[in-house]
């Protein structure tokens, strides 16, 4: 079909109020007004169509906002078809024309609906009255799938054909002409030798076959080298006495119908997988094994693309088990399988699966972790990439768990990702480094300790807490000088978990420092708590003095410090510390007694609230 060369015009303006003329002029004006309204209706309808397409790209299928767009589109479609009748759109490169008027224009090749049709060769499309809801939905699906056509071997034309619409008709040009329109002239380079062999005429009755090419000299019929081997010499004439009945009986027709239904319901993917697995298991050369394993790889990747991580996991395990079985006689097969598995973890593939994960909230995080662990350390860069793109927290956690296992012996890739610009990615990487708790990553964590985002710094403090090394301790102590009180408290508490005198000494040094008193009351309390948590009896005399400072009627010092000392003793919890608290809870001095009571209550409530507090922190 030739490209329509219809000039586009802007919508006609309704000529309301024009001076009356002859009956013909009147009729003309009315026609123009009706046309203008129709053009507007069609343009509005296409606007709704485009909005719904955009929404379907943005929102998952069950999203209420998308549903709203769909409902609006449906109602506009029915009303438009009712008012206007059949809608025929001429497709131009960036425009859709209705009655020669442009009802849609978008010159962005990636976004333009017109270009989507035009680029695939569609030149005209008609929506007939009676269009059914399922047809409209299927049409939308065609447009959605066509935009994903890089992944599938389809275009708008092949997809429309498959749907076999009753109320949507379209005209298109063949792909060859499409190439020509784009300025490339096919066949121009046909080489002269292609003509050899000649052409194919239209068959006619009494057709004369072309002569076969010359066979070998000698006259004897050679054996076939093709795949259908005739077992006998050809029979020169039809033997009618064969008596074969070729009409299909009712039972036979019914059996065929059943066979067709079975074919439609066939579990194609699992069947093909069995074929590929069978081929893989039968390979006897490394090249063949690699070839078949690569085919197997496609199925694993397809499962990942579909969000079927469980299936991908099973397939991966199956590939490994086939390789293991075959490696008994072909040692390199195992290596080939690993090579293929490494390939699955490439960032250009695995790193692009975030949209799939975001669209599938039903995936078991445990299965996902297991799958990623199976892919091994080579997948780590891709997994790190995903950390910045995945929306579901449970998946981010699964990714972190996988990284913690995969990168156990090689943290370099994690350290590289500490340079990421997104704070949340860095925080996750820091978390993973903390899980691995490798000595030697402290310097990298120190970088995180100076990150501008406080959440990253807190995570770095936690991670350093997991590492048993003097360097880690030194960095933790350095965090006491952080600009954020939360980080300072976190550092103290983390160091306190070491429960040794060195930790206590570090905390005590800070408490005794000149600027400690200038710090916030909560922070001071936290540091005393930390001191109590990690200290030993050697601290008791000093704390006792702080608690009991002053005479019977005179407080003799800082009441807040007294309270903090009581708190530290309570957290210390050794017999001598408890002995002092027991003694002072009966003190005649109110301020001492009250300090002890408050401290003990605080420790009790902290014990109860600790679990919830840590949970809330995890949710952050």
């Amino acid at each position: 079909m030739a490209t329509p060369s219809v000039p586009s015009k802007s919508a006609p303006a309704p000529q309301v109020g024009a001076s009356p003329g002859s009956p013909e002029q009147k009729a003309e004006r009315i026609r123009d007004q009706v046309l203008a309204l129709d053009v507007k209706r069609v343009a509005d309808w296409i606007g709704a169509l485009v909005r719904t397409i955009k929404a379907s790209r943005t929102y998952p299928a069950n999203n209420p906002t998308l549903h709203k767009f769909q409902v609006e589109l449906e109602s506009r479609t029915w009303s438009c078809l009712k008012e206007v009748g059949d809608i025929t759109l001429i497709v131009q490169q960036f425009d859709l024309l209705y009655e020669n008027y442009s009802v849609y224009h978008n010159a962005d090749r990636n976004e333009s609906l017109a270009f989507r049709f035009y680029g695939d060769g569609v030149r005209e499309i008609t929506f007939r009255e009676g269009l059914e809801p399922h047809e409209l939905r299927a049409f939308m699906d065609v447009l959605k799938r066509a935009s994903e056509s890089a992944q599938v071997q389809d275009d708008v034309v092949t997809l429309l054909w498959e749907r076999d619409f009753r109320h949507i008709e379209y005209q298109f040009i063949p792909l060859e002409e499409l190439t020509e329109e784009s300025g490339q002239v096919p066949y121009a380079g046909s080489s002269a030798d292609e003509v050899e062999g000649g052409g194919i005429p239209w068959p006619s009755r009494g057709l004369v076959d072309e002569e076969p090419p010359p066979g070998p000299a000698g006259g004897k019929v050679p054996e076939r080298s093709d795949d259908w081997v005739p077992s006998v010499e050809m029979t020169p004439t039809w033997d009618a006495s064969l008596g074969v009945q070729f009409a299909l009986s009712d039972e036979e027709n019914a059996a065929l119908e059943t066979a067709i239904r079975d074919e439609e319901r066939r579990a194609l993917e699992s069947e093909v997988l069995e074929i590929v697995a069978t081929i893989l298991a039968a390979e006897d050369t490394p090249a063949g094994f690699l070839d078949s394993a690569s085919a197997f790889q496609r199925f694993i990747e397809h499962a990942i693309e579909e969000g079927a991580i469980g299936r991908a996991n099973e397939l991966l395990a199956r590939l490994r088990s086939i390789a293991a079985a075959r490696s008994q006689d072909q040692a390199e097969f195992q290596g080939i399988a690993e090579q293929v598995i490494r390939e699955i973890g490439r960032p250009s593939f695995l790193g692009q699966m975030a949209p799939t994960l975001n669209a599938h909230s039903e995936i078991d995080p445990g299965v996902m972790t297991n799958f990623l662990i199976q892919l091994g350390p080579s997948a780590a860069p891709a997994v790190c990439d995903l950390l910045g793109q995945v929306n579901h927290m449970k998946y981010r956690r699964a990714l972190c768990e996988a990284l913690a296992v995969s990168c156990r012996n090689d943290v370099e890739v994690l350290i590289e990702h500490l340079g990421d610009t997104r704070w949340y990615v860095i925080r996750n990487i820091v978390y993973v480094l903390g899980r691995i708790a490798h000595q030697g990553v402290e310097r990298a964590l120190d970088r995180a300790l100076h990150h501008e985002d406080v959440r990253v710094r807190k995570e770095a403090v936690r991670a350093l807490g997991n590492i048993e090394s003097p360097t880690a301790r030194a960095y933790l102590v350095s965090a006491f000088r952080d600009t954020d009180a939360g980080v300072r408290i976190q550092a103290a508490m983390t160091l306190a978990l070491k429960r040794d005198d060195r930790a206590a000494q570090s905390i005590l040094s800070l408490i005794q420092g000149q600027d400690f008193t200038r710090r916030d009351s909560n922070e001071r309390a936290a540091f005393f708590e930390a001191l109590g948590r990690c200290g030993s009896d050697s601290l008791v005399p000093r704390l006792e003095v702080m608690l009991t400072k002053g005479g019977l009627f005179r407080s003799g010092g800082n009441e807040e410090e007294r309270l903090h000392a009581a708190l530290a003793l309570a957290w210390l919890g050794t017999p001598s510390a408890i002995g002092i608290l027991n003694r002072e809870i009966g003190s005649k001095r109110d301020f001492v007694r009250k300090a002890v009571e408050t401290a003990l209550a605080s420790v009790r409530s902290a014990g109860m609230g600790r679990a919830e507090g840590s949970r809330a922190e995890d949710q952050e």
């Binding site: 890089a150 121009a188 002269a192 000649g198 004439t237 069947e271």
Partner: protein, 415 residues
């Protein structure tokens, strides 16, 4: 002036072959010239290459032959009295010229001398400027050529058809559509196979579109296409065989009542059934003599290679999966006596069983280098029924015979 020289038959054949070859080049170049002029102005540099080639070809031909004519007669192009033989790659160009001639009431042109670039440029401009809706497009064109002194390209008027040719036209249109789909399918089969062989990305869209138009044609009227499968061209055997198997499979599927979508999938799966053969060297495929064990191994491996090649294509949708199943199973046989014989495989799918029958039939009726002569279609059917029936699904075999008839297209009348 008549040529009184005596030419031996061999030299005459050689001369005709050369002329046909030159005629093909000339036609394709003319087509390119016109198409290029539609996109670019004749002064554009893009026009220069096609222009030079065309002028050189005409000069060579005129030097060798003197005046000559390129004419469309019916569905074919003729150079003088020689019909230009159509193949998949020349078909679109020939059809383009035939259509362009027809709408201008032209039969073709006489070439009466060497051409110059200005002359050809004027000619192409005028050719494109002809008002095809005019009552006298031929006269307008001829007059314009005369005015601009285009002397060495003389238009030839179409002979006015006889009364009652409307139905002939209709038949021709339906045949033309069938042929167009047929050639497109062959071209797409070639593209797919060669791409797969060379590990280039395979674009199945062309093949899908070709198969979809075959389905449409068969649903409308199956005979035009079934007739074309009877033509056996041994030089394009591999590709044409794939297309034949696709057409015949779709026809059987239609007889069975498969849905349009399933017919499309069956057609593509059938088109790709021998894709694995792209991995076999042509000299093995066409070897006239007995195959060595190694060569047989290659032949027997083509179903497995087919699966691997399809698996490499983009997208693992139902179509690709069905195609893999058919590629793998089409030689397994209904009684499982065929190959590949790998453990644990279940029964053939319906599509594979259909393709197996059609594949066998079409292969038996083709001329091959290793066989003295092809089976006539009815004899191939006889062979299948009498000697090989256990290898095929008996019900589908009946359905196939019901589709092609006891005396399929290509069967000669008894003489």
């Amino acid at each position: 002036m008549s040529d009184t020289r005596t030419v031996s038959p061999t030299r005459q054949d050689e001369s005709a072959s050369r002329l046909i070859l030159q005629g093909r080049n000339l036609s394709i170049q003319l087509c390119v010239l016109v198409k290029t002029a539609r996109i670019h102005d004749v002064g554009n540099v893009a026009f220069q290459g096609p222009l030079t080639s065309f002028i050189e070809t005409v000069a060579q031909m005129w030097t060798a032959e003197g005046d000559f004519k390129l004419q469309a007669v019916g569905d074919f192009l003729y150079l003088n009295q020689h019909r230009l033989r159509v193949d998949a790659s020349s078909y679109p160009s020939y059809q383009f010229l035939i259509d362009e001639f027809r709408i201008r009431d032209l039969s073709g042109f006489s070439f009466t001398g060497k051409l110059t670039p200005p002359e050809v440029k004027k000619f192409v401009r005028l050719f494109l400027d002809v008002d095809v809706k005019s009552a006298t497009p031929y006269d307008d064109f001829a007059l314009a050529l005369g005015k601009l002194s285009v002397q060495h390209l003389v238009p030839i008027r179409t002979v006015v058809p006889q009364h009652g040719t409307v139905s002939v036209e209709e038949v021709r249109d339906s045949r033309k559509a069938a042929k167009r789909s047929f050639y497109r399918a062959i071209e797409s089969a070639r593209t797919v196979m060669l791409s797969a062989r060379d590990h280039r990305p395979v674009d199945l869209r062309k093949a899908k579109r070709a198969v979809q138009s075959i389905v449409d044609l068969i649903l409308e009227e199956e005979f035009s296409l079934l007739g074309l499968t009877a033509i056996k061209n041994h030089d394009e055997y591999t590709f044409q065989h794939c297309v034949n198997v696709s057409i015949l499979s779709i026809a059987v599927g239609q007889r069975l009542g498969l849905s349009k979508k399933m017919l499309g999938e069956l057609g593509v799966a059938a088109l790709l059934h021998d894709l694995g053969k792209a991995s076999i060297p042509p000299w093995v495929l066409n070897k006239p003599g007995k195959l060595t064990n190694e060569e047989w191994k290659l032949m027997l491996d083509h179903p497995v290679q087919g699966v691997k090649m399809i698996a490499r294509m983009r997208g693992l949708n139902d179509l690709a999966l069905r195609s893999m199943i058919v590629a793998y199973e089409h030689h397994i046989n209904y009684d499982k006596s065929g190959y590949p014989q790998l453990e644990g495989h279940l029964d053939q799918s319906l599509f594979s069983r259909i393709v197996a029958i059609v594949d066998c039939f079409d292969a038996m009726t083709a001329h091959r280098a290793y066989r003295k002569s092809a089976f006539p279609p009815y004899a191939a059917l006889h062979q299948i029924i009498a000697q090989n029936r256990d290898k095929f699904d008996p019900l589908l075999l009946k359905a196939f015979i019901n589709t092609v008839g006891m005396y399929p297209a290509g069967t000669r009348s008894p003489s």
